[in-house]
Amino acid sequence: MSSQASSNRAFFNELKTYYTWYTGGFIVFLIALAILEQLGLPKVWIGHVFLFATIGLYAGIGIMARTADIAEYYVAERRVPAIFNGMATGADWMSAASFIGMAGGLYLLGFDGLAFIMGWTGGYCLVAFLLAPYLRKFGQFTIPDFLGARYGGNLARFIGVLSTRRLDAETQKDSTPAAIDDVGPTPLSRAVAATLTSHASQAGRRSAQHACARHTGRARRAAPTNEDDA
């Protein structure tokens, strides 16, 4: 038990080191860009550096932390401490859809657009106390897996896949495109893109991969890990 605890502590410190270096590096990167801007680097270049540096970093983290093990893939072997898991959840919350989509939603819909803002966090509540703990206790990571294990066979699983895909399409259809059409690429939108990307990579190496997978639709709705995942 104590060797387990000390290995967890070592892992925690390792994560802390990574994050400190990462944050420091990011600040240096920002300062360097600011200096370059003062020296007269064209705005277009700055935008491109921002975008490709952050995407490259994101991809690099994904490659370094790649895994084929399913428990590792979804919950990083349940080793990631709660505070880092919280950061991952926060990063996911601040994904491009929330930043850009909500701005667009509010712009187009006014008061009704607030439904998206409430749904984003309110839905998390329902997942947190109605779904996630039971998926976790059941040892499954997705709703289709849960249905497959609970009711047996691939038919239940397939229905689960269909309905979650359908729900997903339904929720993403409306929110995102609005703002992008209207605003177009500005320095601000690039900054937002860079922030989002860096947030996502801050979120933890394996968890970030999970967030990335969610956004490309490869993995759906993994059960958020409990508070005691340390």
């Binding site: 607030l114 947190a128 106390f129």
Partner: protein
Amino acid sequence: MQLTEKHKEYWDRNLKLTLVLTIAWFIVTFVMSFFARELATISFFGWPLSFYMGAQGSLITYLVIIWVYAKKMRQLGVEYGVHEGDV
């Protein structure tokens, strides 16, 4: 696994907590939205109450709900010896 009285008690308390939190969730989500027009006449720090709740108040309540759930469930887990991971 044989379920003992203790397990049932744990499950009851789990359900009660979930019920209370779901009701709180329902009030700040559905009631606030459904009666938005009526509630808009109430001023909250200069904002119409329904707008404030949609933009910030409900979200803060959600965070509190999640925090309470995590804290209570951890306590329950420790109390009934079904806790996983570090305390």
